[in-house]
């Protein structure tokens, strides 16, 4: 029964995140970048876009997205594009502000959300011995981790830590 539910969920998810066509989702360029004819770095140029430009996401393939700008269609690296325009619904004009990365910084109003983990709540929090003990009771060993990885057929690979791009700290 559980399995069935999982399967259904899996299908839904692979529809969302797999290599299937997205229903021309709206996107926003996060940086200036070049469009390629094929989803490869050495493929021929098919155009370009600039930061903040609105575009349509047509397809995802591996680490590449096929996008359509006003002028051209081509492939671009996944992280050059942000999915969606601003935020769910009520801020139609916010896409550029968000894409520029300036919205949300410096102007967040201090809130006192009911369920929010706000600063006041964190400040007032008292040490909870029972909960920390419980959390520690779930602690696993490296061997446990390896067994879990094996069960999921996760194969560790060699991969050196990413370094900051030039010009960034």
């Amino acid at each position: 029964m559980k399995l069935k539910a999982t399967l259904i969920a899996t299908c839904l998810l692979s529809a969302l995140y797999g290599q299937t066509a997205l229903a021309a989702e709206a996107g926003t360029a996060l940086k200036n970048d070049t469009l390629r004819k094929e989803p490869y770095a050495d493929s021929k140029t098919a155009g370009s876009f600039t930061r903040g430009e609105n575009l349509q996401i047509l397809k995802k393939q591996g680490a590449w997205l096929q996008v359509k700008t006003k002028k051209s269609t081509g492939w671009v690296r996944l992280l050059s594009v942000k999915r969606g325009t601003s935020s769910s619904g009520n801020q139609a004009a916010g896409a550029l502000a968000v894409a520029s990365g300036r919205a949300g910084t410096g102007q967040v109003v201090s809130t006192t959300g009911v369920r929010g983990l706000n600063e006041e709540e964190l400040k007032a929090a008292k040490f909870n011995e029972i909960e920390i003990n419980k959390m520690e009771s779930y602690t696993l060993s490296p061997d446990d981790g390896r067994r879990f990885a094996d069960a999921g057929n996760l194969k560790p690979i060699k991969f050196a830590n990413l370094k900051a791009a030039k010009g960034e700290k």
Binding site: S86, V98, A103, K123, M135, S141, R146, G152, P156, A165
Partner: protein, 322 residues
């Protein structure tokens, strides 16, 4: 004052301390005291310390000019003994863990664990495996999902990592969870929070030494920090967040996961309305997700082009019951 010597951390005589021994002897006393009155001063952190330390953060060692004002409540809860003693100048792994435990325990005081053992075990499994790919596989890594609809995750020194139920809800596969946990693991590996606490603590010690009256009546100490959960509401350097993103992605990739898990989560978070309460703290304490995506994308370049078999494992991703 003298009797307090008993509480002086055992590492007090380490050679690297000698050079500044003059400063540190009173300072270490302050630290012992500071920690012993922790629960109370947690109430009084915000103004003085936070301001002071935020000013100090970018500089490496300017110290001492920001003496906190001594006026506010001085409810010395002096005789507590459960809090860890820390050699702030050069904390040992054990001290780091003790400090982290204190912070994590306070955070759990604000938001307890979600009562779902399967969930907690699952998150510990993923986290433990990812942590094993880090530079500190030997830490006793602990993971927990906490009862909050906020979207956030927290790391405390020594291997304590918590993410909110609200954030977990946004995830759709195990690779994304691995990326999120990897980010927090990166903070702990690089001791980002620990360094903030150290700076702040040493800063306050310095202030106390310079100004007799603080040292005398302990009022300084009621400002000192700080194993309260409030540290979790504080921002790290932007560069620390970008670094944790790079490390988180790297660890998840090494663990065999599809490496784009973390960027996918950043995409999702970036779509959340910034006025939504659930992201208020996250947005306040982190660079905007869009900036993080760009920085991460620039760091990735073509590094991931050859990784083909990364797993997302949505089929075993644990679904919340409610």
């Amino acid at each position: 004052m003298k009797s307090l010597m008993i509480n002086t951390p055992r590492t007090y005589n380490r050679p690297n301390i000698k050079s500044s021994a003059k400063l540190l002897i009173p300072a270490l006393l302050a630290s012992a005291l500071g920690l012993s009155s922790m629960p109370v001063m947690a109430f009084d952190l915000q103004g003085t310390l936070k301001g002071a330390i935020e000013k100090e953060m970018p500089a490496t060692d300017t110290s001492q000019t920001q003496a906190p004002d001594s006026t506010a409540n001085d409810n010395t809860a002096a005789n507590k003994t459960s809090e860890p003693e820390i050699n702030w100048k050069n904390p040992s792994k054990e001290e780091e863990i003790a400090l982290g435990r204190e912070i994590a325990g306070n955070l759990l005081g604000a938001a307890p664990l979600v009562k779902d053992e399967t969930l907690q075990k699952y998150v510990n499994s993923v986290g433990r495996w990812v942590a094993s790919q880090s530079e500190r596989p030997d830490l006793p890594w602990h993971f927990g999902v906490i009862e909050s609809e906020d979207i956030n995750a927290f790391a405390a020194p020594g291997g304590y990592i918590m993410l909110t139920k609200g954030l977990y809800r946004k995830l759709t596969n195990e690779a994304q969870l691995a990326g999120v946990l990897g980010h927090e693991i990166g903070h702990i590996v690089k001791k980002h929070q620990l360094k903030v606490l150290q700076k702040q603590q040493l800063l306050n010690m310095g202030a106390g030494f310079l100004s007799d009256k603080y040292a005398k009546d302990n009022k300084l100490i009621s400002k000192a920090i700080g194993t309260g959960a409030e540290i979790s509401a504080r921002s790290l350097d932007k560069s620390a967040e970008f670094e944790a993103d790079r490390l988180g992605l790297s660890y998840a990739a090494r663990a065999g996961y599809e490496p784009y898990g973390l960027p996918e989560v950043l995409q999702t978070i970036g779509q959340t309305n910034k006025n939504d309460n659930s992201v208020a703290l996250l947005f306040k304490t982190h660079p905007h997700p869009d900036d993080r995506l760009v920085a991460l994308g620039d760091a990735i370049g073509n590094r991931l082009d050859s990784i083909k078999d990364g797993k997302t494992l949505e089929n075993r991703f644990y679904k919340l019951k409610n």
